[in-house]
């Protein structure tokens, strides 16, 4: 899809083209092209900024995220509490920052494992070997995608959580380790597993489609004729040529994964209190405890910070994805 950033005045481009030395790396070209799209570039910076906020949450927090102060509940923004306080007097700024950290950890880990590791590898294998391997993988994928995403995620999280918590407790007991459950690592595992069906299939199908074409390419045939091993063909010859669509797909997918995490936590199936999450914060104001409309009516400002962060994340990743799509797959426009 085109957006307004594609129309650059020609007089601006002319001198640039002259300045550019003839040989410049593929990726540097792409970066230069990307940077020329102002909106996308700003979006990327915003995303990076939000992620940095999350990563440095322990450093930039102004309070403790669990610390309640019953003398200062439901306060508006002030110099003491930048975004105000919630009904237990907890500092909203601190909680938002920690909530971002939760989102960052989950999006990154579930993407690295589900989408990149599983999705890409299975896609490479299915596309390259075809035959029954491919058929089985595709059918499994079809079954998984027969479910509405959110329902499947909710079902997985709801049924697996007790099992995984139980397992973690038994590990704690037998090894003498402590804090496995209370530190929230278990929550991440549960959410990561629940989000797997969402992340792997799309990526798998994308990679498989590309590989189906590439495996017939002459350079792959040449590599095969020279006796190159199959893993080497897959990862050295085919994978680099699939990288562009993978990047585009990741940039579109991360927003969706982040939203799913927020939804899960909103339903109370994701990160468990006291650990803050954007979804929990939104749920506390809008839908919990039956008093939804009254809290919403009296203190709507409490919603503002977590919602804007979620919104910005999804919006910016979409813009970045669009721009990357234009830059990386110029023919697909």
């Amino acid at each position: 899809m085109k957006n307004s950033q594609t129309f650059d005045p020609p007089e601006e481009m002319e001198p640039k083209l002259k300045d550019v030395p003839a040989a410049r790396g593929h990726w540097r070209n792409i970066w230069a092209n990307f940077r020329r799209r102002r909106l996308a570039f700003i979006s990327l910076i915003l995303v990076a900024f939000i992620y940095l906020l999350g990563i440095f949450a322990p450093v930039i927090q102004t309070h403790d995220y669990q610390e309640t102060n019953l003398r200062r509940t439901q306060q508006g923004p002030s110099t003491e509490n930048w975004f105000g306080t919630d009904r237990a007097g907890r500092d909203l700024y601190t909680r938002v920052v920690w909530g971002i950290q939760t989102t960052v950890i989950i999006t990154v880990t579930s993407f690295a494992t589900g989408s990149l590791l599983l999705g890409v590898t299975i896609g490479l294998v299915a596309g390259y070997f075809r035959g029954w391997v491919d058929a089985v993988i595709m059918r499994v994928g079809e079954v998984v995608s027969a479910f509405p995403d959110i329902l499947l995620i909710i079902l997985l999280a709801a049924t697996l959580r007790p099992r995984i918590v139980e397992f973690a407790r038994s590990v704690e007991d037998s090894t003498g380790m402590s804090g496995l459950v209370s530190s929230g690592i278990v929550d991440y595992v549960v959410i990561g597993i629940a989000l797997l069906p969402l992340s792997w299939f799309g990526m798998m199908r994308l990679v498989r489609g590309q590989v189906l074409v590439l495996r017939e390419a002459e350079y792959v045939e040449a590599a095969r004729a020279m006796g190159t091993s199959t893993p080497r063909i897959l990862f050295r010859h085919i994978l680099p040529n699939v990288v562009s669509p993978i990047i585009v797909s990741v940039s579109f997918g991360i927003g969706a994964i982040a939203l799913s995490e927020v939804v899960l936590s909103f339903f109370g199936l994701g990160v468990q209190p006291p650990r803050p999450s954007l979804g929990v914060m939104i749920g506390e104001v809008t839908a919990r405890g039956g008093a939804s409309v009254s809290v919403l009516r009296d203190h709507p400002e409490q919603l503002l910070a977590p919602i804007i962060v979620v919104w910005l994340l999804i919006f910016c990743w979409n813009i970045v994805g669009d721009a990357l799509n234009d830059v990386l797959n110029p023919r697909a426009r």
């Binding site: 079954v143 027969a146 079902l155 997985l156 697996l160 099992r163 927020v262 939804s292 009516r297 979620v310």
Partner: protein
Amino acid sequence: MLAYILRRLLWTPVLLSLAAFFVFIMGMCAPGDPAELRLGNRATPERIERERERLGLDDPIPVRYVRYVNGVLKGDFGDSYHYQGKPVLEIIAPRLWVSMQLNIAALIVAVLVGLPLGFYAAKRQGTGRDPAIVISMLILYAMPVFFTAPFLILFFAVKLHWVPAAGWGGFFSLQIILPALTIGIPGAAIFVRFMRASTLDVIGQEYVRTAHAKGMSNFVVNYRHVARNALLPVLTIMGFTLAGMFGGSLIVELIYGIPGAGRLSLDAIFQRDFPVLTAFVLLGAAMLVFANLIIDIAYTIVDPRIRLQ
């Protein structure tokens, strides 16, 4: 084409039985012993043992699976743990009906807003309005329902008092307006995007130029040649969009206090009422599969050029 439809029709039951198998396994993974959960805390071991036998919980897994599928085909999804042995279907059906009405209303909003706007944006390509529409739709699409719902409540219900803030009064009540808008707006954004792209494709076609050259009025060309052809590819994403909206409606129901499937599934999670939850997920999958099947078949009929394999 007939072969394709036939193959799809044959594959559908297989797909659904695999989906049922998955849901069945998840139900078994669910914590707690169904016999214990049904009888409550004070049941004696002997009673639990008898109940286990009655439910056939000690049978081999394939036997239990076949029994489960058999029951599902007859509309028997088992009994709820929470509502004292009430059949699951009896609990789910009225809630699902509420959710369906809500989603149909939302789909109407999405179609009425999305398709004309996408068409308009494509016709205005090259002017400032096209990117303006595209960007603002992307903003709306990225806006989570947590955002739109409270905003709409605060503005239209709390401030302006035009509509009630929450509750459910059926399809033809004022209360459906806000939730339908909340769910429909992101759907509309998707439709705008696809409608715009497919209209742009059609505008460039030679038969459109021919139609103009013949001196047909703009109106006739736009509606008979462009819009009708541009609508076809948009049809295919209808099922996908509906599924997305359905997911969003779970949250929306919670925020607006609508007694639909979203509320029910959330309650089922916390009451550990797994028969209700699994039945709901399976029904959701079945609806999605059938919706896509119908749309695909409709597509091949509406556009005879399509030769799907």
